[in-house]
Symmetry: C2
């Protein structure tokens, strides 16, 4: 998760600070941060970009045995992509009670009858703080 947070140091100021890393056999095979505004692409969430990079690298859409680390609970779009890619485990930082689709707002695993393992709240305070600072800045408050 420290590596995920390190990714966010270089994220453009107008992007919601979310980063994702995919690990296979102890090696990082893909990493990305949110680029929705920069790319004008509503699908360019960190998790989607990392999954596409890992699949390119392995020349396979099946990411069995891979683990994904992300600082915020995935939204329904990303949770579906994660499940369909057959990633084996997700480790996330902050819970998202509004849109989180791996247990908070809903649990996408139920729709897909998925065995995906999910571990939430990893370095939760640090992850919460980063998002809180971003949203305070967006509202024009002192962070």
């Amino acid at each position: 998760m420290k590596r995920v947070l390190a990714l966010l140091k270089n994220i453009p100021a107008n992007e919601i600070p979310v980063g994702a890393i995919i690990v296979k056999d102890g090696e990082i095979i893909a990493s990305a941060h949110n680029l929705k505004e920069t790319l004008n692409d509503v699908t360019a969430h960190a998790e989607i970009l990392a999954i596409r990079e890992a699949e390119r690298r392995l020349a396979n859409w099946r990411l069995e045995g891979c683990e994904l680390y992300v600082n915020l609970e995935p939204c329904p779009m990303c949770a579906t992509a994660i499940i369909n890619s057959r990633i084996s485990a997700v480790y996330f930082g902050s819970y998202d009670t509004q849109f989180g689709a791996l247990g908070s707002a809903m649990d996408m695993r139920k729709i897909y009858n998925s065995q995906l393992k999910v571990y939430g709240g990893i370095m939760e305070n640090e992850c919460d703080e980063i998002l809180k600072r971003y949203f305070a800045r967006m509202r024009g408050e002192n962070a």
Copy 2:
């Protein structure tokens, strides 16, 4: 919807036959069919590819005033991307009781408190027939 079905004439035989078209002011601004197997990209559903194409063309991730036509009810990944892109209406053909996320298996509009308009069952018989033939072929049956 006839134009969507025409897209499927050229789809590779191993891809689930789903196509999508995005229309703005009466003009087709993007069209795509499923390319998951071809691209080795679990996110390469017809709707996602069409949304990304439309956003590139408009240089904007906001697709307000656009309508999306697709022969199968969108999955949760695609429904989320559609809602987040602010597309105004979706017209789909076949209902998907297993994974359809615009009313059948779930309704993603509830999570996002979305005003997206949804019209299902457009040319439903023709759309059902195309999917039925594909799955029969995949099972090795005569179609």
